[in-house]
């Protein structure tokens, strides 16, 4: 538990620099497919951390993540598409005129005079993307806040059902608000700004924010509300306020994750944001360990990478002379079995509530 005032920040800084060096190498030498997996790892980790804040640390069983991701994705997308793209894509009903003109990268570029300076133009585009992701997160946080106020009076499974319902409401709204969202047709050709740098940059920010939050007194109050609401109340904690706070912060990062994911996949439509998406994130959190930041990171890395690697079993195989035709869906079967094993033999997840610490690293290196 003890922290070293000098060693820990130095180690943290060193690992962040190492991470970015590795990213540089990955950016230069990896192929598109592997880069995409790395990008997915970063985004999934952001999503898992945000759900862990809500479910793992504050104990609110929320199934609304897909809804917050959808809000983040749509807000971000609508802010970075060019007016031309919007005009040609909204075929069923024309897009709202005020929305059509809204395009952060373009407007910022005009503002800076990027037309005759390519470097300035590129800067404006990146800044516009950053603003769009941020606003996507904020929009999701506002939705989270408005959902939290009525439903956080509920506890346990009821909360799960209510948040699930709200996520579906968001999805149905997106499907039907055609003049804004292009309805069921979805949006295609989203500029692929979500590079490794952006995704891992946001991941480092998320990680820093959540670790700092959980180490502060607020983090202890979250855990107190989760473990024993009555005890928290007898200490003068307004438990409802803290539940709303955790939910809103979680929704913000879910929106950020959704926005980055939209920019990575370059196409979104309402059918993406069904319950399955929430369950994917939930799976990472539970497999890693509820209430462990380290667990969420490991859970998202392992599950994201495994979901890709297991594609091998779906392609034709040749084992010791036997030829197997690939069975579509087989990887999900294997995956489910692995999950069952985790639930049966390690219910608390891979990490439980334990956390990585530099103290641990340095102690194992030394002889006792």
């Amino acid at each position: 538990m003890k922290s070293h005032p000098l060693r820990d920040p130095v180690c943290n800084l060193a690992s962040i620099i190492l991470l970015f060096v590795l990213l540089y190498i990955a950016e230069e030498y990896l192929d598109l497919y592997n880069k995409r997996i790395l990008n997915l790892v970063a985004i999934n980790t952001i999503l898992a951390l945000s759900l862990n804040l809500i479910y793992g640390f504050t104990g609110m069983f929320s199934l609304g993540h897909a809804g917050f991701m959808a809000v983040g994705a749509y807000v971000c997308t609508l802010l970075i598409l060019t007016p031309g793209q919007k005009k040609s894509m909204w075929m069923l009903e024309p897009i709202q005129p005020w929305l059509e003109q809204l395009s952060f990268p373009l407007q910022l570029s005009n503002l800076f005079g990027g037309a005759n300076n390519p470097a300035l133009h590129e800067f404006a585009v990146q800044l516009g993307f950053f603003g769009a992701v941020l606003l996507g997160g904020l929009a999701a946080a506002i939705f989270g806040l408005f959902i939290a106020l009525p439903v956080l009076r509920l506890g346990g499974d009821y909360l799960g059902i209510a948040t699930l319902g709200f996520a579906e409401i968001i999805r149905v709204l997106i499907t039907n608000l055609t003049p804004i969202t292009n309805g069921a047709l979805g949006i295609k050709g989203i500029p692929n700004h979500a590079t490794l740098w952006w995704n891992f940059g946001w991941l480092v920010f998320t990680l820093y924010f959540i670790i700092a939050l959980m180490r502060s007194n607020v983090g202890n109050v979250f855990k107190a509300v989760r473990d024993d609401e009555i005890a928290a109340k007898t200490m003068g904690v307004n438990s409802f306020f803290y539940r709303v706070l955790a939910f809103t912060i979680g929704a913000f990062f879910a929106g950020v994750g959704g926005a980055l994911m939209a920019a990575l996949l370059s196409t979104i439509d309402p059918k993406m944001y069904v319950m399955m998406l929430t369950f994917n994130v939930l799976m990472m959190v539970v497999a890693g360990g509820l209430g462990s930041i380290t667990g969420s990171i490991i859970g998202s890395i392992v599950i994201t990478v495994m979901l890709e690697w297991l594609r091998i079993v779906e392609s034709p195989l040749n084992i010791f002379g036997f030829t197997l035709n690939g069975i579509p869906g087989m990887r999900m079967v294997i995956f489910s079995v692995l999950l069952l094993l985790i639930i049966l033999f390690r219910r608390e997840g891979l990490m439980g509530t334990r956390e990585f610490s530099w103290d641990f690293v340095f102690r194992t290196g030394r002889k006792p």
């Binding site: 003890k2 007194n217 107190a224 109340k233 003068g236 904690v237």
Partner: protein, 239 residues
């Protein structure tokens, strides 16, 4: 300091507390004694604002100061008024360290130096807690958890400290230790409301006592008088 008038508490259709009236004078130890289900803990929860109740709970924080009816206020406001309880069953936060538990007790306070000096004071009251400061609350023994619960309540610097069954589940030697500390805290000028099933120990240190039976006050009087009352002896002290 605290005046309860005609307090009624209902849980669904069950009438748990049926018109209790009691008063807690400043600087005293007042105890509520009674069997399970007599309504002791319910009364404390009503004072803390954790359960709904009817009646009046008049609180006067400063001598000759203004009085407020705390009934119906949210629990966090009541803590800010200086009424704090160490709840039944201790309710330690198992995943937080001893020190984090204590610091959460000072949640309503913003004076950093004051909290630090109170932390030191609580550690000097319970040296065992200082030894275990970095341990998780869940790993403590029952007696240590009880010390932590009392210490945590003290961290908010309460004017009225309510202790709900501090001796529950403790070895007799520890019970003596806890009661000695309660008396010491009272000696420092804090008003104490003590809830107990251990009638003998509670009556020995209390200035005034109420004996509760099925939601009503059956008997009241000076602690020592009740200790020698034949009726009480027969019912609560084993003859």
């Amino acid at each position: 300091m605290l005046e309860i008038r005609d307090l009624h508490i209902y849980y669904g259709g069950i009438h748990a507390v049926k018109g209790i009236s009691l008063s807690i004078p400043r600087g005293r130890i007042v105890t509520m004694v009674g069997a399970n289900g007599a309504g002791k803990s319910s009364t404390v929860r009503a004072i803390s604002g954790i359960v709904k109740a009817q009646g009046e709970i008049i609180y006067t924080r400063e001598e000759n100061g203004p009085s407020v009816n705390v009934l119906g206020l949210p629990s966090e406001d009541i803590v800010r008024l200086g009424i704090v309880q160490s709840p039944e069953g201790r309710r330690i936060l198992p995943q937080l360290t001893v020190e984090e538990n204590l610091r959460l007790g000072a949640y309503i306070r913003n004076d950093k130096e004051g909290v630090a000096s109170d932390l030191d004071w609580v550690y000097s009251l319970f040296p065992r807690l200082r030894e275990r400061a970095w341990q998780n609350g869940g790993t403590l023994s029952g007696g240590e958890q009880q010390m932590l619960a009392v210490g945590r309540a003290l961290m908010s610097r309460p004017d009225l400290l309510m202790l709900d069954e501090p001796s529950l589940g403790l070895a007799p030697i520890l019970v003596g230790e806890i009661f000695e500390i309660i008396r010491h805290i009272n000696g420092l000028g804090k008003t104490v409301l003590l809830i107990e099933q251990n009638a003998f120990a509670a009556l020995s240190i209390a200035h005034y006592a109420y004996i509760l039976e099925t939601g009503t006050v059956a008997l009241e009087g000076q602690g020592m008088d009740l200790l020698h009352n034949p009726q009480v002896k027969e019912a609560y002290l084993g003859g």
